[in-house]
Amino acid sequence: MSRLDLSQSRDALIDRNRPLSFTFDGRPYQGFAGDTLASALMANGVQLVGRSFKYHRPRGIFSAGSEEPNALVTLRSGARAEPNTRATMVELFDGLEAGSQNHVGGLKHDLMAVNDLAAPFLSAGFYYKTFMWPRAFWEKLYEPAIRRAAGLGKLSMQADPDSYDRGYLHPDLLVIGAGAAGLMAALTAARAGAEVVLADEDARMGGRLLAEGGLLDGAPATQWVAQVLDELAALPNVRLMPRTTVFGVYDHGIYGAVERVSDHLPTPGTRVRQTLWRITAKRAIMATGATERHIPFADNDRPGVLLSGSLRAYANRWGVTPQARATDPVLIFTNNDDGHRTAQSLLARGVPLAGVVDSRSGARSLGEYTTHAGAMVTGTKGRHGLRRVQIRTADGRDSWIPCGVLGVAGGWNPNVQLASHHRGRPVWDRERLTFLPGPDGPAGLIPAGAACGHGSTIAALADGRRAAQTALAQLDRTATAPALPQAEEEPSAIAALWHVPGKRRAWVDLQNDVTVKDIKLSHQENMRSVEHMKRWTTLGMATDQGKTSNVTALAVMAELTGNGIARTGTTVFRPPYTPVALSVLGGGDTGANFRPRRLTPTHHWAEANGATFVEVGQWMRAQWYAQSGETHWRQSVDREARAVRSAVGLCDVTTLGKIDVQGPDAATFLDRIYANTISTLKPGRVRYGLMLREDGFVYDDGTCACLGDGHYVVTTTTGNAGLVFQRMEFARQCLWPELDVTLISTTDAWAQIAVAGPKSRALLERVVDGVDLSNDAFPFMACAALTVCGGLPARLFRISFSGELAYELAVPARYGHALMERLMERGADLGVTPYGTEALAVLRIEKGHAAGAELNGQTTAAMLGLGRMVSAKKDAIGAVMSRREGLAGDSRRLVGLQPVDPAGKLPAGAHLFAEGVAQGLATDEGWITSACYSPHVESYIALGFLDRGDQRLGEVIRCANPLEGQDIPARVVPAHFVDPEGGRLRD
């Protein structure tokens, strides 16, 4: 155990009265409330926590934050198992289960560790150079092996059992990060009355102030933090969001953030696990702090080697240090004063110190410990945990120092990522030896504190206040500046040291096992631009996104090219700032409610009457109504189709789009929308209408009914309802705004039921209120507003999709269900039968009516045999372009097809060929668009587009379906299999 004793860590932020038990790799341990999994593992003397990606080297905890490259565990188990979770970001809870990853056999004796012996062969980019012979071996042998070896944790393969939600916030100011700068900024803005959101990825706000163990106004900084948070929490205009990571900066002040609502609990219970917040902020302050960098040296990846500032954080915030045994001394390696601050903190907490190795000649101790000035660390020993460190002193002598922990302080990199999410590049600061946010960052995002180089506590506090005042001024708010607490200066005095030269491997990217040697090889092979280096070596592409390695790597490359760091530049930072669970990004409903569904007014009736439903666009429609005894859908569909041909059928057609068109210029408007003429349509009449896209291809079809002067109802196909409305509004507002016409969608307002079949008139006469429906009084293509069932307002249209005598009856939607019941009841003796979309399709194919499969956006009016509908006498959308050579010259025509063998089947999607030709795309003459079994014809029938089809009636052609091994002879027939003269629908 290396938990520091109570007296020495009295102000550590853990609750020793709340012990929590947890397991790691099955072994039980104990920690305290306030611990992270990492600090708790340290407290239990666990040093070896994982294996590296490529060489499977033993690894320990390297940091105390979200930059952690080594300590990746699989958290929880079963469906809640979460691979690749950073132990440093996991709040300890009672019963927590965690396991190490990416090893074969035990963590301690990982069989894959043989990779380390093969390391010389696994140099940067090696896989681009081999595994090529023999060709077949890549998929069969090499790749599967590589895939098995690669990857880190495992998915549970079970559905995520937790729930997630979304939220939207609109503050004046978003403050990202609740450290010294963020707290000061939030306080300044809050006191000025601005709506403030303060978000921090940590469960506990305070940032480095919780880790430094320093004083503010003479008291521990944690007290100042508590006071500020109390004040903020009490203000109505402030929203504190701990456990919330702002992961991305999007356009116009929109920030993506994830709040881990209940990840600190064993299970979410009734809460969501996480919430995805879309925060639209007038201004934002990026107080994201800085990440310490290490200094690569030989074998610098052993468990026990970690970042100096993190070491300090563990000691001060959690009262732990990572030795295996509390008596093991700690050594610090630094190139700046910060390493000495860690030494001070450790001394203050009674941690045995082996001294500080400081690369700066003339460096001095800041306390009772030895400082090796001008010295460097040149090697380490200790298989599963650090035992000894080799140093080379200023005078070039090598010596080994026994120690259990080595803290490395290479300077701090401001966390500039968010400022670069709009592709603005950070700029190099020669003074501080860091990249700072560039001038071309996202509009409205103001960097502050350590994130823009003001790393010391006192500077961060002042800069946070400055940033808030800047933001408030831009929002025309006056701010009274809160006083700054007193703090002592923290000089850095950094001297560049990017890596310790040497022959052995020195790790730059710990997780992906990228060493200084790999960067040298990348340079040697002319992979010198940072992007090439990154991609050739995979540097910075691991789960830590190179937070601890990118800058060091490009410094090494700059050294090799002699270009200098500024000219070498960085790679592009992109969202997310830290990895985000897909379940929260895709939060909300994932099952049946993934997207809204629309139900017809007769849906519940259909359900009760044995309907099977099918998705049609957003709608659910009855596909067929199975009756008792029917074992195959075909039986139901054939029965329904026959009923319509012989008696009368009912089908809910509410889903067809209905657009109410009104205004004195409505007719003129419709003439320009439709390819055919509408203005000649008289009140009480309906006309079939064809819409083209401006590019001349058929877009949609439907009917247009004239209800009175300047009042029309346009129907569209189910799928295109929304688009047609949009295009009509485009024509109304953008093309011809001078026309006085208004459009209202009424699709949902009316329940519309098709009443089709020879006995449809007889049935309707039993429900309409005293209207003469005789052929003379109400002929084909007539329409009227009337009442049914004793005064219910309704609209009746005599139109037919089936080719039979047919009507469509529309009533207010709330009566659709009752009307259906009434029609069924009144039509019982007529053999009335409800039919679904399958029978509807059979009927329209028999009649040769085009539908979705024919109106697929690739067909012309001529192909459909409707070329003459495109009026040349008037301007209409698409008319001009429909005359282009490519369209006018397209000789494919809609035809009917019947299998030569009456028992034969015709598959939609088959391609059409002349008899005896070699089948290939060159000889391809068309395809089958729709096919079905026709109970009327008593064989399969189909519609299709065939080159010169109109001139080939009677010819036998081939329907090729090589996909399913079919090549079926079929006869070309006219595209209507019932009542070609159309007598039935007119009688």
Partner: protein, 189 residues
């Protein structure tokens, strides 16, 4: 008078109702909706003196209310049948005004809070990406709720109405009750 029995958008004879903490959702089946349109740019009619408000707004009058749905377009709401008839007549007689019956085109869910504005605000935060002033009392607008196009009307601090196309009633009810039923987590320091 017809003897056909109407059915609510949710397929239930009676209005649906559910309570989640401080929030109560009630299906408003009595509401009648009349769309009014005029040529954009021409003055708005005042059917029976009812004020038709400007962009983004909702206004309540005697026995009826109205909200703006687009340039030159409004929706009038009332739950008094005779009043609805009088309004229709008034609109028909107004020069240049066009009427489209929409009573059956929508489901309307009234969301009320017995704990003041806070629960309504928290619900709105998780429903729509609109700033608080865009959904302040007296505002109405069509927007997107979890992929569903809806109209939200803030009838009062503690009262919200959500309209969705009638055919999507089930989806609206599902998403409203799901969202309302989720405890809004309290941020803890």
């Amino acid at each position: 008078m017809t003897d056909l029995i109407p059915m609510g958008p949710l397929g239930t004879p009676d209005p649906a109702r559910a309570t989640h903490g401080a929030l109560t959702l009630t299906e408003n089946t009595a509401l009648m909706l009349i769309a009014v349109a005029t040529r954009p740019g021409t003055p708005a009619p005042h059917p029976l003196g009812l004020h038709l408000p400007g962009p983004g707004l909702w206004s309540q009058g005697q026995g009826a209310a109205a909200f703006w749905t687009g340039p030159g377009q409004w929706m009038i709401e009332t739950d008094v049948p005779d009043h609805a008839e009088r309004l229709r007549d008034a609109i028909r007689s107004a020069p240049g005004a066009r009427l489209t019956e929409q009573s059956d085109g929508w489901i309307c869910v009234e969301v009320t809070s017995d704990a003041g504005a806070a629960p309504i605000r928290a619900l709105l935060e998780r429903l729509v990406n609109l700033s608080p002033d865009q959904v302040a009392p007296g505002h109405a607008t069509r927007t997107l709720l979890h992929h569903l196009g809806c109209i939200v009307i803030r009838r009062g601090e503690d009262h919200l109405a959500v309209l969705a196309p009638r055919s999507a009633a089930g989806s609206l009810w599902h998403l409203l009750s799901e969202t309302a039923s989720r405890q809004v987590p309290v941020a803890t320091v």
